[in-house]
Symmetry: C2
Subunit: 436 residues, 2 copies
């Protein structure tokens, strides 16, 4: 994409309304614009990152055996009255009355709706386990929306729901999703710490939150350092065939500050770590809470009607965009991990008015595109300093800096955004390097 034609309204100044790093950088990098309190439009650069994250989340859900569906945003009140949550949910639920005076709502989550789909379409234990997910916009009418998409009102969530015939199989499904979550965050280049959690309004007695480590995170975590070792991440590929490892992981200590008692911590001081975290996922095993209240039953092997065992599994997809920035930035801007970067390479033409320089840039642009590498090409007639600052701000992993002086020597400069390291390479060598 040529920057001269790209809708990328970056800002030089820090917007006054942004209190946290990710919000500030997302506005400055032209990724989002606020539409009303806690509600945002995603501009091209932001949308690309959102879609890249969504793709990884989807692939890992599919890999875990979940099947994708898509439930609507607007739900009827009746199913929430059945489960008993219609009154319990309070003012965070956006309640709507349609033209026929029917009570509706903008879904904040989908336990009721998916249970309704289940009970009408799945009747036998032979159709279990069922594991369904969707990636859909949700709405929670936060009293004070803030921090940009980190705590917005309209947000994109992946939510999966599991249905099993008994508690043991429900626990297996829970563990499979636990592994899928660790894999997902690892692919996003994040270190995620699973923390035993309260189940709150969702219900049930087994639950984990996934907190990713970020210096500017809002919660403070204490955890066994074994949870963040590379060794643990490397075992993830095999985890699903190894219940023992999942149980070992789940036995490792991790707690938020409010629940951490230094005097009664089971971890030896030399193995205890503390760090800031951002919650990006939450999984629940809540048994028969919804199947009982909504009558989601199947025939078991003995021909008896049994209420199914359920769980639900959420990932904040739009929140992850912000969380990734909290975990990956410096004073100059964002530093995207390659797995989610909107473009892999930023190509900077230092002298867009110089015909030779522009010819060389056009040539590199074409070669990189032919090699299947996504490039954002700054072909504008801005001064170099503004181009450097802009490219650092939007955080693409690699920068190619092309100017007349280098071209005389047959070289261009390559800068790695994360490390700031620079190399001088020939055009051919650059294409090979970036392909690798």
């Amino acid at each position: 994409m040529r920057l001269s034609r790209y809708f990328l309204p970056t800002l030089k100044e820090n917007p006054s309304e942004a209190q946290i790093t990710s919000h500030r950088l997302m506005l400055r990098a032209g990724m989002i614009r606020q539409s009303s309190a806690g509600i945002y439009s995603w501009l091209p650069l932001g949308l690309k990152v959102l879609r890249n994250i969504e793709k990884i989340v989807r692939e890992e859900q599919d890999r875990a055996g979940a099947q994708e569906i898509l439930m609507p945003t607007i739900q009827p009140a009746e199913i929430w009255q059945e489960s008993g949550r219609y009154d319990a949910y309070g003012k965070e639920m956006l309640r709507i009355t349609d033209r026929h005076e029917r009570e509706m709502l903008y879904g904040p989550t989908n336990e009721e709706m998916v249970t309704d789909i289940f009970r009408h379409n799945i009747k036998s234990y032979k159709q279990l386990p069922a594991l369904l997910y969707h990636i859909q916009w949700k709405f929670r009418d936060e009293i004070r929306p803030r921090f940009g998409v980190m705590r917005g009102r309209e947000f994109l969530m992946k939510d999966a729901y599991s249905f099993d015939i008994d508690k043991e199989r429900a626990r297996d499904t829970y563990n499979r999703m636990y592994v899928a979550y660790l894999r997902t965050f690892a692919r996003l280049g994040l270190v995620a710490i699973p923390v035993r959690a309260d189940t709150g309004a969702i219900g049930g007695d087994l639950s984990h939150e996934f907190q990713i480590l970020a210096e500017t995170g809002e919660s403070t975590l204490y955890y066994d350092k074994a949870l963040e070792t590379q060794e643990m991440l490397e075992k993830l590929a095999d985890l699903e065939n190894n219940e023992g490892i999942v149980e070992k992981l789940q036995s490792l200590y991790a707690a938020e500050e409010e629940k951490h008692d230094p005097d009664n911590c089971p971890v030896a001081p030399e193995n205890l770590k503390t760090a800031k975290g951002v919650e990006v996922g939450h999984i629940f095993n809540f048994g028969q809470k919804y199947s009982a209240s909504m009558g989601a039953r199947v025939l078991d092997q003995d021909g008896q009607q049994v209420e199914v065992e359920m769980g639900s599994y959420g990932i904040g997809v739009s929140r992850l965009v912000a969380a990734l920035i909290e975990a990956n930035h410096d004073e100059d801007g964002i530093i995207w991990p390659q797995s989610v970067a909107p473009y892999q390479v930023g190509l900077i033409n230092l002298q867009a008015k110089n015909a030779e320089c522009t010819k060389a840039c056009d040539d590199i642009y074409k070669k990189l595109q032919e090699a299947g590498i996504e490039v954002l090409y700054d072909d504008r007639t801005e001064r170099p300093g503004a181009k450097f600052a802009n490219m650092d701000l939007i955080g693409l992993p690699w920068q190619l800096i092309v100017g007349p002086k280098g071209l005389e020597k047959g070289i261009v400069e390559v800068k790695e955004r994360a490390t700031g390291e620079r190399q001088e390479l020939s055009v051919d060598a650059i294409v090979d390097k970036l392909k690798a």
Copy 2:
């Protein structure tokens, strides 16, 4: 995907609530389930088709130079009050009051919101033309929602918006989108007839509706037969560099029955055709209607503030799923065009309890997957008749029928869903045939 594990709740009987073919077949083929009046959940098979259509729509928008953004579903009332449409829109607009008593609405379309984004971020003629689109759920509170996703309340639409410096360039953009629409529908395997249309609530004086031909369509069209010739479709690739052809196309006669006067028709009887159609797209050039009321101005080359010339361009993405079925079905079920089929091949194991037959099927399944062909594998222990009926119903382009008798001779049967033609081929020959 193995059918034994796939969430595909097909129905043997016609659901009584479905009045039109596509609604009946989408319910029977397990593609959708109603959640409340005019609001549907998309099950795995339906969602795959929806995403395939979305992908083609997106590719053609990108090809036309449009840039993808994503605006939220919930909009503030203020911008609609600015444009003057808040009161004008009537009861089809789903109005919402949030917890702070602010007036909001679920967007039925996005002229106001995109104009608001434009006016805050684009200030100079140098940044024009701007052509932005999104693919997002919309809501129209129809008084009598019916016909399934053909006229639902919550629906998926691609809507693009253009901003140009003057009328001539706005007309060029309009023509570029006109061509993009014809290309999009051609790739979906549809014949689309562009019909000059009224502009209604959107405003402006130039507009075309795109009606795709379907025997069970709701409108009756009269049109110059040159509009549906293969020759016209083949020229589409070059159209954008040939304004003359666009003008010629736009000059060809097409009208809905209400506006067709047989006594004053400009087309010679031998060139006039009539057919049933389904509206799937609508494009508008409406000038300064929103830029004037909302103050969307840029500096022109002379340093003067000018109100930009705008257009909007909609495609009903979820409606297209139904429209495609109206255009492609027979008494046994759906007949998907290859470009949008949820799976290319249905593999039928005639005797799932026969070890050799199952081994052969597993082998074919693996080979097709390795060749990158998407296969739905009916590995269930149902009787053959039920499997045939089910596979015809869901309409995959190719069926592979594998039974012990054929295997003795080293062959399996290949059936093309659209024509019903059958061939007997060796396993190796089948993979080659389907790859091609």
